[in-house]
Symmetry: C2
């Protein structure tokens, strides 16, 4: 099969236009799910797809699709990623995968190539979990429940406000399941967000699997006392338990779980004022591992540590498991398709695991799923200075196109 | 001189009515300066004073006064405290001093006693420093400046909103100075907010001096990285510096500065989400000492520690001194008046220093100033469970009345 080539100028023009939406002026973008900027990016995507003559669909979870229909096809091969960002994040994460998917569809549309399946460029809702982690792909799998909607990551009020802002409803979220038999596979191009490809001098990463993640809210409870009149030794200061846990949890991960990572991304103090001893501190903890058993072992070790820290400072402890995801394997069919595509283009490639979560980990439960990584300079991501060389982005889009055609050939 | 007696029933009725304003349902009140509840409490105070036939005045800083005028008097003896509370604080702190001052004025008014000075029950603005620490007494001394108003404790936007809410202006704040020659003295009844009186079995504390306070915002700056793909050892996690500082600063105070106290009342993480390594953590630190040199020595030791913590975790550091107050001595005249009053009533009393800041520390710069403490059960304060036996509150009000008359006798 002769593989057609994408249009790098058009691809760049779109990529740059998207980077302006929600731009923070320091090279980054601020597009949390359902923010003004996020909704503007989705609108832009729909318009660009429509201009290209693609069919545009939005499902009940807000997932945006541009579809290149094939006569008589009953299945769709999905290519995509997400247009939302972490607060003050970079302009490659997610965006590259959506814009490259759009470019692949336009390229194939122009060649007039007839395929046995539809091609669909998809932008999933809230990959970065401002409200519910992987909201869009969870909805597509039919895995959202009323219970999940009652206690979202970002708070119930924020969820309702966001849905209303985006013109969505809870009923829509709960009824967006797609029949897996209509899905031929899923491919996602993404920046690595880590340093391995750059260090190894590789151009393409073929993802073998995606890390499992668990997140928790760990609340330390003490007593609100006057900060001037209460002797130091008579205090039950929730900040001490929380701070001690932050330091100790890092030691545990580095010394006993070097194959895992952990992050305390936030602490919230109550009442949070200068002259009152903190009576409550809520710690936002996230842990990741490629292995389910190790993830559970790390969780146990950290919960024991939190209990120890609470007792040491005369505090009470409450742990809320907020959510997470199991480690996921990419399909060998998809990995083979990506490898064949990279080799046909003469690109240096390696197998790699993903330390970040992606919608692909959910799609992998129902369809043949693969991910393509391109190098992140310095491994930096979720930051305005996140950067990937444009040549690597183009390579990634070319590999995506080739891999899609390789996968489709087997239908 | 025969000392008249206050009306304990009326005093209790007022105290309970005030405790309902901003009540949080758990025994506490939530009346931060310029909140709805705080303004309602001030309105209530003005109405109760007017009902008693007292003259009501509000100055440009929002300080509320009830005045019992004496024919020909050119000076006023101030009795008072504050009606604002910390967020979710107790219903004794501040309130006791204002309600008892009102009761003292009513009692003296009823006796028809002629005094050489006016008596003024005063409620100072923002003692608890939601916006500017001791805003009201600073304004009365003429010590507020445009620079202070530009960077208030609670943020510029909150200050402007609060002033607007209360019908006040910055010009008003800056022009509320009172001529010290018109002030005959200042007496304040307050709960101890510490455990010393209760432990010693004393009924009345005669305050000798008030602690000096310094507050700081200590910012640790790292780098926002993806929490899944960035190896633990490659991170610049601002939360580690901040947490390490919290633990170490407590050790420093307890081991090297047992005569001082410190509090980290808040930490703010940025961007503050689960999946991004914190790039910035702002730590709210407050330190207190009865001795100016010790306060400075503690400050130096803690700033050295913060620098050490920043370096240890590859972070940058920025320290902003937010404000504070020098240690203050109570006048011997006022202490003598309080002691005479307590002895005449046969109450067990002791001299005591104040670990909490009070408006009295500012008034002490311009006039003969004294404070009366009554016992706090368990030493608890700035909390809904803050409690003082009603009998002790009545004793305090009686001592306040007696001390006021003793001070006035010398005019």
């Amino acid at each position: 099969m002769k593989i057609p080539s994408i249009n790098p100028e058009r691809f760049l023009e779109d990529f740059n236009a998207l980077a302006q939406i929600g731009a923070t002026g320091d090279g980054g973008v601020n597009r949390p799910a359902f923010s003004e900027a996020h909704l503007a990016a989705r609108k832009w995507f729909g318009e660009r797809a429509a201009e290209a003559g693609l069919e545009v669909q939005v499902d009940g979870a807000g997932n945006h699709s541009a579809i290149l229909r094939q006569p008589g096809a009953s299945k769709s091969l999905l290519l995509g990623s997400h247009l939302d960002s972490v607060p003050n994040g970079g302009h490659f994460d997610g965006a590259l995968g959506v814009v490259s998917a759009l470019e692949v569809l336009r390229t194939i549309e122009e060649t007039g190539l007839e395929l046995p399946v539809n091609l669909e460029a998809i932008d999933f809702t809230d990959e970065e979990s401002s409200l519910i982690q992987f909201m869009g792909s969870y909805a597509l799998l039919g895995l959202l429940t009323p219970a999940i909607l009652r206690s979202p990551h970002g708070g119930r009020a924020a969820l309702l406000e966001g849905l209303s802002h985006a013109g969505l409803t809870e009923d829509g979220l709960l009824s967006s399941r797609r029949n897996p038999d209509t899905i031929a596979g899923y491919l996602e191009l993404h920046i690595e967000q880590g340093p391995k490809l750059e260090s190894a001098g590789m151009q393409i990463g073929i993802v073998t699997g995606i890390v499992g993640i668990s997140s928790f809210r760990i609340s330390f409870y003490g007593r609100a006392d006057h900060s001037g009149t209460t002797p130091m030794e008579a205090r039950a200061d929730a900040g001490l338990g929380a701070s001690s846990f932050v330091i100790a949890s890092r030691e545990i991960v580095m010394n006993q779980f070097p194959d895992c990572v952990a992050n305390v991304g936030n602490m919230e103090f109550r009442p949070g004022v200068f002259n009152v001893v903190p009576k409550q501190v809520d710690v936002s903890l996230e842990i990741r591992s490629m292995d389910c058993e190790r993830l559970n072992a790390l969780k146990s070790a950290l919960m024991d540590q939190a209990q120890h820290d609470a007792e040491q400072f005369d505090l009470d402890l409450e742990v809320l498991t907020l959510g997470g995801s199991e480690p996921a394997s990419m399909s060998s069919r998809a990995q083979t398709a990506i490898r064949s595509s990279a080799e046909a283009l003469g690109l240096r490639h390696m197998s790699i695991s993903s330390g970040a979560g992606h919608d692909a980990q959910l799609l992998s439960r129902i369809t043949s799923t693969g991910m393509i990584f391109v190098p992140s300079i310095g491994g930096v991501s979720h930051s305005p200075v996140e950067f990937t060389e444009w040549e690597d982005c183009v390579n990634g889009a070319k590999v995506l196109l080739g891999a899609a055609l390789h996968l489709v050939e087997q239908e």
